[in-house]
């Protein structure tokens, strides 16, 4: 057997050019496959991270009626007891209680409807990483009366996001010399003029510059001109506990942006104390509790424990709150293997072809080996090993290349911002940090060996069907 392995390995390298071609094909296929899987997995992990640590927490508690109808009166019953229970449970790392009201936001130039979330900053910071997603301003750190944190998207809808090329911006552009001075000179004519929508700024830029410059620098100029008017007023209108409409004025203290536009455009944050008073809710009346667990805790166990203690509550895990994300996370590994499987299936045809060529070339030699007494089993295993070696050589190098690629891009991140709107509308980040489980490589190794074995069957059968006497006399 040892001899056979040696012969098979040597045979692989007899026709170097041909083998290298196959090996390179396998390297490319496998590394591309692994890299694509890394991107997908990175994406999914980022999405789940956002779902848990920004949007939902691991578990959320509600009054069941609130889920059907987001009414102010559907508060969590028996809140003190719930609080006591959550404080006692050791696997619960932190929890945050929120007041949630559907509200209409109005500024002098625009309006939109939002879910206004009244939060307690210290608790919320332990549960949600939203404070790391600030674009401008602060996370309720300034001493202003009634601050509100809104998203980039909301700022756009309320026209708090403006587009201005200030003298400073133009001067700094001139100094960095990334944009030609002639372009800047023509942009000077809209210096310090405020445009309130992206479209108007776009129109203005494209009328000032010629086509080539617009496609080259337009996007950068547009991004540079974005500005948020912090501390501007927003009037929120909502129904209070008595069912009366109330108006309250808030001042923008910060602007955030997550990877999920859907979440962004429907959530704004204010202090719980500000919101409760005007809405007529007292201290203990809340609509939602978001819970974060310790790393290794099982959320299903905690869920059933809470359910058992408080049967009158709706206890939902993030998997139930964002079924899309949980579905993807559950089937991710299967998707990845199917993906690599398809690549290997395509590669198998190349391998079969190469091996058939090798058999054809060595007909005489194979006939000789058989004639001097090499049995069928050995011939078969020799050809099979040859195929597996050929595939494995490429696979190992391919896996290494793919892994390296993932390590590098995992640090720098892959930027898909040119299609950013499409991705973020679905809640998937525009900058992806690929990552991969080491377990995945074992799976791929097994798949590669299986592919090698399967694609050796046809060439091996062809070899076995040779008649030694005829084969020896063959001239090639």
């Amino acid at each position: 057997m040892k001899e056979i392995i040696k012969i098979a390995w040597k045979n692989v390298w007899r026709n170097k050019k041909r083998s290298v071609t196959v090996v390179v094909a396998v390297i490319l296929g496998i590394s591309a496959g692994i890299f694509a899987c890394g991107v997908m997995q990175g994406w999914v992990e980022q999405r789940i991270d956002a779902v848990i640590y920004i949007e939902n927490g691991r578990i959320k508690l509600y009054n069941p009626d609130f889920l059907n109808n987001e009414e102010i009166n559907n508060v969590i019953p028996n809140k003190e007891a719930v609080e006591h229970f959550l404080n006692k449970e050791t696997v619960i790392k932190a929890f945050s209680e929120r007041v949630k009201l559907m509200a209409m936001a109005t500024t002098s130039r625009g309006s939109t409807s939002l879910m206004l979330q009244g939060i307690n900053i210290d608790d919320e910071k332990k549960v949600s990483k939203l404070y790391t997603c600030l674009l401008q301003g602060t996370y309720f750190e300034e001493e202003t009366s009634r601050p509100v944190l809104i998203s980039d998207k909301t700022a756009e809808q309320l026209r708090i996001k403006n587009y201005v090329l200030t003298t400073e911006i133009l001067d700094s552009l001139e100094n960095t010399a990334s944009i030609p001075n002639t372009v800047i000179a023509s942009l000077r004519s809209i210096e310090n003029i405020r445009f309130e929508s992206e479209n108007k700024m776009k129109k203005e830029i494209s009328s000032l510059l010629d086509r080539k410059d617009v496609s080259k620098y337009g996007f950068d100029v547009l991004k540079m001109s974005e500005q948020y008017r912090l501390r501007s007023k927003i009037v929120f209108t909502f129904t209070d506990k008595q069912g009366e409409l109330v108006n309250q004025i808030y001042k923008v203290c910060g602007v955030y942006k997550t990877a999920n536009i859907m979440y962004d455009q429907s959530n704004a944050f204010v202090l719980k104390s500000d919101l409760s008073t005007i809405a007529g809710l007292n201290e203990g009346e809340i609509h939602e509790t978001g819970i974060i667990l310790r790393e290794n805790a099982n959320e299903e166990n905690v869920q059933s424990a809470i359910k058992k203690a408080f049967p009158e509550l709706s206890v939902l895990t993030w998997k139930e709150l964002s079924p899309d994300a949980s579905l993807v996370s559950e089937y991710m590994s299967i998707y990845l293997f199917i993906f690599v499987g398809i690549i290997l299936f395509a590669l198998a045809f190349g391998i079969i072809n190469t091996m058939l060529m090798a058999i054809l070339e060595r007909t005489k030699e194979l006939g000789m080996l058989m004639a001097i007494g090499m049995n069928r089993k050995r011939v078969f295993s020799m050809i099979m090993l040859e195929t597996v070696f050929l595939t494995m050589a490429g696979a190992v190098a391919g896996m290494l290349a793919g892994w390296l690629l993932i390590q590098v891009t995992g640090m720098t991140g892959l930027n898909f911002s040119s299609f950013v709107d499409g991705f973020e509308a679905m809640g998937w980040a525009a900058i992806v940090y690929p990552t991969i489980d080491l377990f995945f490589f074992f799976g791929i190794t097994v798949l590669v060996i299986v592919t090698g074995v399967l694609s050796s069957i046809i060439p091996a059968r062809k070899a076995l069907s040779l008649n030694p006497v005829e084969a020896i006399r063959m001239n090639n």
């Binding site: 500024t107 002098s108 108007k200 008017r229 009037v235 129904t239 309250q248």
Partner: protein, 252 residues
């Protein structure tokens, strides 16, 4: 030296006094102007509204009843498609009745700041209308003619802690009749957002009132809404249960 100080303090005293007086005046003028429309016990009016957009134009006619307490009922009479729709404003709430779907809907907060019937008038404008006097500090900044009529030019700055979205409002009120002939709304950066203009003063029910009102959004050239008063009557008799949800459905 002493005399000098005295005279200075006297001058400052007088200047403070005069500015105090003019502030009082400004507020008074705005209040009087507000009363022109809202100060009567009750009113009935017939109006037509033209919504002008760059690509189309449409016309709506309606009747409206109102009461000094702030209750109001509006009924659409044309075009045929919208005929019979009615709106009831009672206190801080607003309901709408749509005969084609036979539904009475309480306007949720989310619908309040959309334009009323697709115009540049927001429902919010209609609900919060009466706060020009209470929610602002007033200052006369000069006199200017509008369409040949001498007007006080008054600057209104919102008081703190009021839920006013504007940065400031400039209002031109005619000296003689206390008519609001022009109102400019500015945002917090003092940029113009929209202008209300009134013109064509006519006599309705023995008083002079502008019969045409225009709303011009500042940054959407080509868009405007024009409201024309066809008839208006004041202090008519209104039954106590007139402003009710039942009445919305049967009013003609």
């Amino acid at each position: 030296m002493k005399i000098h100080l005295k005279s200075i303090s006297l001058i400052t005293f007088f200047s403070i006094m005069t500015s105090f007086v003019s502030a009082q005046d400004a507020k008074e003028i705005v209040r009087k102007a507000e009363e022109k429309f809202n100060g009567e016990k009750s009113s009935y009016s017939e109006m037509s509204m033209t919504i002008v957009r760059p690509k189309y134009q449409r016309n709506i006619e309606f009747k409206s009843w109102s009461e000094s307490e702030g209750d109001a009922l509006t009924l659409i009479t044309a075009p045929a498609k919208e005929k019979g729709q009615s709106f009831l404003k009672s206190g801080n709430n607003m309901w709408t009745w749509n005969p084609s779907i036979q539904r009475l809907v309480k306007m949720p907060p989310s619908m309040l700041s959309q334009g009323w019937m697709g115009s540049d008038y927001s429902n919010d404008d209609i609900l919060k209308e009466s706060s020009l006097v209470k929610d602002y500090s007033h200052k006369i900044t000069g006199k200017e003619p509008i369409d040949g009529i001498t007007c006080y030019k008054i600057e209104l700055i919102p008081l703190k802690e009021t839920s006013v979205i504007w940065g400031k409002i400039i209002i031109w009120i005619s000296e003689k009749d206390y008519l609001q002939l022009k109102i400019e709304y500015y945002d917090e950066d003092n940029l113009l957002v929209k202008t209300h203009k009134s013109s064509k003063i006519m006599t309705f029910d023995n008083r002079n009132l502008p019969s045409v009102m225009e709303i011009l959004p500042a940054n959407e050239p080509g868009n405007k809404t024009v409201v024309t008063i066809k008839a208006i009557k004041f202090n008519i008799k209104i039954e106590p249960d007139f402003f009710s949800q039942q009445n919305m459905k049967k009013i003609k």
